[in-house]
Symmetry: C2
Subunit: 267 residues, 2 copies
Amino acid sequence: MTRAGPLSLNTVTVRPLTLAQTIEACARHGIPGISPWRDVLQAMGVDKAARHIRDAGLKVTGLCRGGMFTAGSRAAALDENRRAIAEAHAIGADCLVMVCGGLPAGSKDLPAAREIVREGLHAILPEARAAGVTLALEPLHPMTCADRSVLSTLGQALDLCDELGEGAGVAVDVYHVWWDPDLARQMARAKGRIAGFHVCDWKVPTTDLVFDRGLPGEGVIDIPAIRAMAAAAGWTGGVEVEILSNHWWSQDPEAVIREVKSRHAFC
Amino acid sequence: MTRAGPLSLNTVTVRPLTLAQTIEACARHGIPGISPWRDVLQAMGVDKAARHIRDAGLKVTGLCRGGMFTAGSRAAALDENRRAIAEAHAIGADCLVMVCGGLPAGSKDLPAAREIVREGLHAILPEARAAGVTLALEPLHPMTCADRSVLSTLGQALDLCDELGEGAGVAVDVYHVWWDPDLARQMARAKGRIAGFHVCDWKVPTTDLVFDRGLPGEGVIDIPAIRAMAAAAGWTGGVEVEILSNHWWSQDPEAVIREVKSRHAFC
């Protein structure tokens, strides 16, 4: 069994903290990577955040998130994605994580929604390439299809990568893909295109469709098995811990960070 | 647009009723089909239920459910499935709906769980064939993978059908498959093998992973589009309405039945 790569803390895992506090905590706890969400990045100010992150010596494994092509007007969504690309560039992020959006309000036309996503990705790809920011297409769990992401499987994400070419990759979050009977084949197919590897765990029971994720080891996902598939596909980066959880958000963030570190072994 | 086929009422939709009451209500409301769960069937007595259903002139579109191969001992699971096959035969059900089971307790080995399901299906297939009961493999939504069904996609179910041959088919529930980017291709592949077609709807938001399904029209699933795929694949049967919903269970069952009938147009 290969050892898990270096840890990266996604800021949503410690949502009660500001970005400045999270940067400081990562440095103090010896966590070498960070992945901010745009809300905390913007609250701190992009330039100031970039400076702090650099001064702390942290690797930025991703910026969360671009995408949401199906919400509101097409033009507004593309503009927002262009701003996200610029921010990802400014903080030296390895990639911009793309959460592509669910069904447009009032629509039941899933193929059409998927076409909007496809067109949106094509539209912003030139800016992403120019900025040197990889668009990391993140398939989200099918239970989010209606309201968060019509990009539902790794195979679907790789089909889009095939079409988009240079500048596109995938973000693999074990929470979203662990159930997939086609996972091993698609992970092999992802060779050289994995731009991010995210971990958390599927709790039994899961009581909320969005905010009840577990820390690695709290659930039933065989994370090391999926990480081994990523390693076989050439992934040499670390593991980004991204926990959306009402439970963990109610705990002391320092205790959560200690838990995250101690559970690195489950990754 | 083709018209929806005849209605069948899955007994769980009106969970507060006994099977005798549900049979009587179907007859009175002119609903031509019924699909009982085993608990209410056994509570009434299989022979008595078979007589009442026949006397009421109802078509039995399925018996819910066999499967659960991964829970408890292998021998006990197979015995339970054999009893289910006998019951399905006794009431003249078109098929036995197979909900195959989640991860065994304490296990994270998903491929092994899928192998247990595969072996279980092979083990009971001779009895199913002898009884003339089609095993309707029902892929369940990936959010149920841990605790209800490691059979997660229609493609995976059809792979098993390919292997099992005569006596195996699929139960397509729009709730479980609507999100699948590969759905159109797999529905075409299902030609001649659709043994049941179940409808309900995906609400936005969905607040519970099991018991928050909507009636047809309450959510975002394009049910007529999926039914058209079924028709193109040779499905000439009806639509079985199966709603697991804390909300609808709290309502007057007579009102629920009227709602089911009025929403036939959304199927």
